[in-house]
């Protein structure tokens, strides 16, 4: 009895190691020529398998977010907003479906002969109760899903209302100014405000913050940069008043189109973003971002001096 049991125990531990469905057949050649193993019905059958799905297009996961005015979130091609995350997976805008990772064994048709990357079940169900499901191989380094934090940040910037500079000068147009006279340049203090916007895609929220850093003035002959709004000129100021943002013309504008120098002002914001929730990156610095351009024009005259002896 003891011997029989020992023999049985030895036999028990000498059974072959179990292998995954796909490789077992793919490598073993259990299927007739021209067919491949397909996991089905709780087992493995042999059938003719066409390409299960097109490879993914790199760089198209989630909402595009690259345009400054693209709204946050996930959208169908017809513009219908859809949840970025459902029980079917993450929205994959490039394939217009919800993607969930499949652990199909390597060597099975789903891998399309690849040995790296990943395989995804790409599901789109209609109201009729039928679903379209593509099994898609995705190259290494690419992954379907909701927009990345950087894409969300780009989207959020598009949603920020960066201030279009309201140009003020002294002398103020349409009154002319003169060569050799310092012109004061400023924008309203109310435009010097830090802006913030958050966008959420699934469990991830990205907040961008835009802080005004400088104003770039193009006064015609040259450009100058002011590190603030500039000092507003008000009636009654004495000659002793000064500004840190001004420009003195050395030539008149008579030869310019319309006889004026065009003036533009752009508030430059320092933009940074932070990510909360599941984030591949905690945050980032997007540097200086230009707000819309504010415009004006100045007529510059040459004042003639007569010396009387």
């Amino acid at each position: 009895m003891l011997t029989r049991c020992l023999v049985a125990l030895l036999l028990a531990f000498s059974l072959p190691v179990v292998v995954a469905v796909g490789p077992a057949h793919a490598g073993g050649g259990g299927c007739p020529p021209g067919t491949a193993p397909v996991t089905a019905h709780g087992g493995v059958v042999c059938a003719v398998v066409k390409t299960p799905g097109a490879p993914s297009q790199p760089g198209d996961p989630g909402s595009s977010g690259s345009s400054g005015h693209t709204p946050a979130g996930c959208y169908k091609k017809d513009g219908t907003e859809v949840p970025c995350q459902t029980s079917d997976g993450s929205w994959w805008s490039g394939q217009q479906c919800y993607a969930a990772p499949s652990k199909a064994p390597k060597g099975t048709p789903a891998w399309q002969g690849h040995t790296n990357g990943s395989v995804w079940a790409c599901t789109s169900c209609g109201a009729s109760g039928a679903c379209t499901v593509n099994v898609i191989w995705v190259a290494p380094g690419h992954q379907p899903g909701p927009p990345s934090p950087a894409q969300l940040a780009a989207t959020a910037i598009g949603m920020l209302r960066l201030a279009k500079a309201e140009v003020h000068t002294a002398p103020a147009a349409p009154a002319p100014t003169y060569v050799g006279v310092q012109n004061w340049l400023w924008i309203p203090q109310a435009q010097w405000t830090t802006l913030s916007k958050s966008v959420t895609a699934g469990p991830t929220t990205v907040t961008v913050t835009a802080e005004p850093e400088e104003v770039s003035w193009d006064v015609g002959p040259t450009t100058i940069t002011c590190n603030g709004t500039g000092q507003p000129w008000t009636r009654g100021m004495t000659d002793a008043a000064t500004t840190d943002c001004g420009y003195t013309y050395t030539q008149d504008s008579a030869s310019q189109k319309d006889g004026t120098f065009p003036i533009t002002a752009v508030i430059k914001y320092h933009v940074a973003w932070t990510c909360a929730g599941p984030c591949s990156t905690a945050g980032g610095d997007l540097g200086l971002v230009d707000a819309p351009v504010g415009t004006s024009a100045l007529r510059v005259l040459q004042r003639q001096t007569v010396v009387v002896r």
Partner: protein, 191 residues
């Protein structure tokens, strides 16, 4: 000395009793609990497990049979329906893989039907954990020779199904879930 022999013999008898029909052990088995509540009336393949473990095993196998029956229906129809998706999301350990498998069959117009004969079912490991959930691995010898596989309406020969094969299946009952989830069967050798 005699006492030592009795203990060893008892262990071997209990272990050997789990070897199953025809002496074909399905493979390595988990360590049965050392609890003293081993019942003498347990089926051979469950000898050495506690009553709680046996109960979990029987529940899991029963749930798996129901899972297979329902899943097979989807393969017989050959369609990826919302009902099938919902079913796999609720009852599969890895729903996306189960769903992709069905999609693979449906997209290639494959329909599979016919009875599966379970030659034997045995536990490999039984882990009953009150807080972490329950996990059971089973091996089954399945006779699939009566399956009918059609592709685009044409019957396909399935020579690999002539002999019964051993499949290993993971089953788990997750914390805060009252039902069993089934894993994808892994194909082994012929039984």
């Amino acid at each position: 000395m005699l006492r030592t022999f009795v203990v060893l013999a008892t262990f071997l008898v209990a272990t050997c009793a789990a070897c199953g029909q025809n002496g074909a052990d399905p493979g390595p088995r988990g360590s049965p609990s050392t609890s003293t509540s081993v019942a003498t009336s347990a089926p051979a393949e469950l000898a050495g497990y506690t009553a709680k473990e046996r109960q979990a095993y029987e529940g899991a196998v029963s749930a798996y049979e129901a899972f297979v029956k329902r899943s097979n229906h989807f393969y017989a129809v050959g369609e990826t329906s919302v009902a099938a998706k919902d079913f796999y999301q609720r009852y599969s350990i890895d729903w996306a893989t189960a769903w992709a498998n069905l999609a693979q069959a449906a997209n290639n117009h494959i329909k599979v039907s016919g009875p599966t004969t379970v030659v034997w079912t045995k536990p490999v490991t039984i882990s009953v954990r009150s807080t972490a959930g329950d996990a059971i691995t089973i091996k089954r010898c399945l006779d699939e020779s009566k399956w009918t596989v059609e592709q685009n309406g044409k019957k396909l020969a399935q020579p690999q199904l002539k002999s019964p094969h051993v499949y290993t299946v993971q089953l788990e009952k997750r914390p805060r879930e009252t039902w069993w989830r089934s894993g994808e069967p892994k194909l082994g050798a012929t039984c």
